[in-house]
C-alpha cells in the first residue's frame, strides 16, 4: 500500500506539476485571506472550468488530427499533411473554415429549439469532465456520488440530440434523433450495470474511490470483470455514435442523422463535442477499468495525469481502430445485442460481484489470495458466457455458410443452376456458418 502521508508531503509545493491541485488550493487560500468566501468558491469554479476548457480545446484539435492520421494509415493514405508541419494545423484551418461558413436554418425549422442544441450539447460535454480524477486530489469536484453524476449528465445529452433532430423538420434528422434516443436509453442499461458491478465490489460511488480501491488492492478492474469492461466499451461506443454503432448519424442511410441541417460552426460544435465525449469516455474507461491515474507505483514518479492520459490514449486508439475496421450494425441488431447480450452479461456480473464481495467482507477472505482466484474464475465465466451467446443467439441466416461454387461447363438457366447446386464436390469458397 502506498504511503499516502509521505506522498502528500512530497506533493506540497505549488510548482509541483505532478499535482496541480496545490496551485488551486493556494489560490483559494489566498483569496480567502482577503475576500468573501463566496468569491473563493466562484473563482475556484471558474478556474476549474477554465482548466477543463484549456485541456479540452487544444486536445480536441490535436485529436482530430490524430484520428484522421490514424484512420488514414489504416486506409493506406497519408492523411492531412499540407497545413502546418505534418498537417498539424489542419484542424485549425477546418475550424476557421467552419466559423466563416454561412449558417443556414431550414425555413420550417422550430427556430428557438433549432438554435439551442449546438450550445446546450456543450453543457454535459463539459460537466462530465468535472468528476474525472486526474490524480489523487486532482478533480474539479470529487463527488461521493460521482458514478451517478456521470450517468446523469451523460443521459441529458440525448435530450439535446432529440431537440436538434426534431426541430430541424427533416426526416433524416428525426430518424437520427429517434435512433439516438432509442439507442441511448437502451445502452444506458448495460452501462449502469457494468458500473454497478464496480460500485458493488469496491463499495464506493466516488470515482476517485474506485481508483483508490484498485490502488489499494493492487489490481485493475478489467482483470476482475473483463466482460463488464467489454460491455462498457461497447455501450460507450454506442452512446458515442461511433462505428459500428453510429446508426444515429449513419452516413450511408440517413446522411448525417440529427445534425443533417446544421451547417458551419453549429455543425462544428456538434462535431467537437462528439470528439470531446469520445476522449472523456476513453478517460473514464481508463479510470474505471484500467486503474486511472494509478499504475503499480509508477504514479510516484510520473505525474498521475500523464499516466491517465496515456491510458486514455490507448483506449482512444482502440475506439479509432474499431471505427476504421468494422462495418455498421443495423438498428434492430444493435438493440438485440444490447438487450439480449450485454444486459444479461452485465447483470450476471453484478450478481457475481455481489457474491464475491460478500465472501470477501463477511467471510473475511484474504484479498491477496482471493482476488487472483476470483479474477481467474471471472475470466473463465466471461469466456463461457460469450461462447454460449455465440452458440445460442446467432441469427438464422448466419447459421448456414455462404458458398460459392464454380459452374464449370454447366452454363445456362435454372436447369444448370440445379446441376451446379447438386454437385458433390466441396464448394470453391465457404465462409461463415456454425
Amino acid at each position: 500500500m502506498t504511503d499516502l502521508a509521505g506522498l502528500s508531503s512530497v506533493l506540497g509545493a505549488w510548482y509541483d506539476f505532478r499535482d496541480l491541485n496545490n496551485l488551486q488550493r493556494l489560490i483559494t487560500e489566498w483569496i480567502a485571506d482577503w475576500g468573501p468566501d463566496w468569491l473563493a468558491s466562484i473563482i475556484t469554479g471558474v478556474l476549474g472550468a477554465l482548466g477543463i476548457l484549456g485541456v479540452i480545446g487544444p486536445t480536441l484539435l490535436i485529436l482530430i488530427w490524430v484520428e484522421r492520421k490514424v484512420i488514414a494509415r489504416f486506409q493506406q493514405r497519408y492523411g492531412p499533411n499540407r497545413v502546418g508541419p505534418k498537417g498539424l494545423l489542419q484542424p485549425v484551418a477546418d475550424a476557421v473554415k467552419l466559423i466563416l461558413k454561412e449558417q443556414l436554418a431550414p425555413r420550417a425549422a422550430d427556430k428557438l429549439i433549432f438554435f439551442l442544441p449546438p450550445v446546450l450539447i456543450f453543457i454535459p460535454g463539459v460537466l462530465i469532465w468535472g468528476v474525472l480524477p486526474f490524480g489523487p486530489r486532482m478533480s474539479v469536484a470529487d463527488l461521493n456520488v460521482g458514478v451517478l453524476f456521470l450517468l446523469a449528465v451523460s443521459g441529458t445529452a440525448v435530450l439535446v440530440i432529440f431537440m436538434a433532430g426534431w426541430s430541424s423538420n427533416n426526416k433524416y434528422a428525426l430518424f437520427g434523433a429517434m435512433r439516438a434516443v432509442a439507442m441511448s436509453i437502451s445502452y444506458e442499461v448495460p452501462m449502469v450495470l457494468a458500473l454497478l458491478t464496480l460500485v458493488v465490489f469496491s463499495g464506493t460511488m466516488s470515482i476517485n474511490g474506485i481508483v483508490q480501491w484498485q490502488q489499494q488492492e493492487d489490481v485493475i478492474f478489467i482483470l476482475l470483470f473483463p466482460l463488464s469492461a467489454i460491455a462498457f466499451f461497447f455501450a460507450a461506443s454506442a452512446e458515442l455514435n461511433r462505428t459500428p454503432a453510429d446508426i444515429s448519424e449513419a452516413e450511408s442511410e440517413i446522411v448525417a442523422g440529427y445534425h443533417t441541417e446544421y451547417s458551419g460552426m453549429r455543425f462544428g460544435l456538434f462535431y467537437a463535442v462528439e470528439l470531446g465525449n469520445t476522449l472523456v469516455v476513453s478517460a473514464f474507461i481508463a479510470t474505471f477499468f484500467l486503474g486511472g491515474w494509478w499504475l503499480w507505483g509508477l504514479d510516484q514518479w510520473v505525474p498521475s495525469w500523464i499516466i491517465l492520459l496515456a491510458k486514455t490514449g490507448a483506449v482512444y486508439f482502440l475506439l479509432i481502430w474499431t471505427r476504421g475496421t468494422l462495418p455498421r450494425l443495423r438498428v434492430d441488431q444493435l438493440m438485440g445485442f444490447c438487450w439480449k447480450a450485454l444486459v444479461p452479461a452485465t447483470l450476471l456480473f453484478v450478481v457475481v460481484a455481489f457474491v464475491e464481495r460478500t465472501l470477501l467482507i463477511s467471510e473475511g477472505w484474504d484479498t491477496t489470495v482471493a482476488l487472483p482466484i476470483m479474477a481467474v474464475f471471472n475470466i473463465a465465466l466471461s469466456l463461457g458466457a460469450v461462447m454460449l451467446f455465440a452458440r445460442v443467439a446467432r441469427p438464422a441466416p448466419l447459421r448456414r455458410p455462404a458458398r460459392i461454387r464454380m459452374a464449370g461447363s454447366d452454363i445456362g438457366g435454372l436447369r444448370a443452376a440445379r446441376e451446379v447446386a447438386a454437385r458433390r464436390e466441396a464448394p470453391q469458397l465457404q465462409v461463415g456458418g456454425d
Binding site: N144, V145, F149, L151, A152, V153, L159
Partner: protein
C-alpha cells in the same frame, strides 16, 4: 457558503423551476412543453443541491431528465399527430385545474405548518448508504411491491406492443388484397413465384 451566494442560487433556481412549470401550461406544442418540463426538473435538482442533498439531486437528473422526459418524448412521437396539441378546451380542463389548485394549497399549508428541524450534518455525508439501508431493511415491503408493479407494467407494455404486431400483419394483408384488386403485379407472387415447370411465373 455565505447568505448572498445561497440566496442567489436559491432564487435563480426557484425562478427556473417555476418559470419552466408555467411555460408548460402556456406552450401549445407538446414537445416544447416537455423541454420546459426538463428545465423545471433541472431547477428542482439544483434546489436539492443547495440543500446539500447531492444524491437526490443526481438521481433527479438521472431519472427525470434522462429517463422520464425521454419516455414522454417517445409517447408523444408514438401519438397520432392530431392528438399532439396541448389541451384546447377550457371546459374539460377547468375541473382538473381546480383540483390541482386545491391540492397545491393543501400541500403548501402542510409545508408551512410543519416544523422542519435542522437536519443533522452526519446524515448528509452518507445519504446513499442511508437510503439503501432504509430501502432494503425498513421499507422492504413497499420496495418489493413497487418492483412487482413495475414488472407488471413492463409485461403489460410488451403485451400491448405485441398486439400491434398482429394489426400490422392484417394491414399488410389488406394492402395485398388491394394490390390484387387493381389487377397490377402482385409483389408476393412476383417475389416468390412457383417454378416455371409447376405453373406460371409472374402472372
Amino acid at each position: 457558503m455565505s447568505d448572498f451566494g445561497f440566496h442567489l442560487a436559491f432564487w435563480s433556481l426557484a425562478a427556473m423551476t417555476i418559470g419552466g412549470a408555467s411555460m408548460i401550461m402556456v406552450s401549445r406544442n407538446l414537445i416544447h412543453a416537455v423541454i420546459w418540463l426538463v428545465l423545471s426538473m433541472l431547477g428542482i435538482a439544483g434546489l436539492y443541491l443547495t440543500l446539500s442533498a447531492e444524491f437526490i439531486a443526481v438521481v433527479q437528473v438521472l431519472i427525470y431528465v434522462g429517463a422520464i422526459s425521454v419516455l414522454m418524448l417517445f409517447a408523444i412521437m408514438l401519438t397520432p399527430r392530431a392528438e399532439r396539441d396541448n389541451s384546447q378546451n377550457i371546459k374539460t380542463s377547468a375541473p382538473a385545474g381546480l383540483v390541482v389548485i386545491m391540492v397545491m394549497i393543501a400541500t403548501m399549508w402542510v409545508a408551512i405548518d410543519t416544523d422542519w428541524g435542522a437536519v443533522r450534518e452526519a446524515a448528509l455525508t452518507e445519504q446513499a448508504r442511508l437510503i439503501g439501508e432504509s430501502l432494503i431493511k425498513h421499507y422492504i415491503l413497499p420496495f418489493e411491491i413497487g418492483a412487482v408493479l413495475l414488472t407488471a407494467a413492463l409485461v403489460g407494455a410488451i403485451a400491448l406492443a405485441r398486439q400491434d404486431d398482429e394489426d400490422a400483419a392484417v394491414h399488410a394483408a389488406s394492402l395485398q388484397a388491394e394490390l390484387k384488386g387493381d389487377g397490377s403485379v402482385d409483389p408476393v407472387d412476383v417475389v416468390d413465384p412457383p417454378l416455371p415447370s409447376d405453373g406460371e411465373v409472374g402472372s
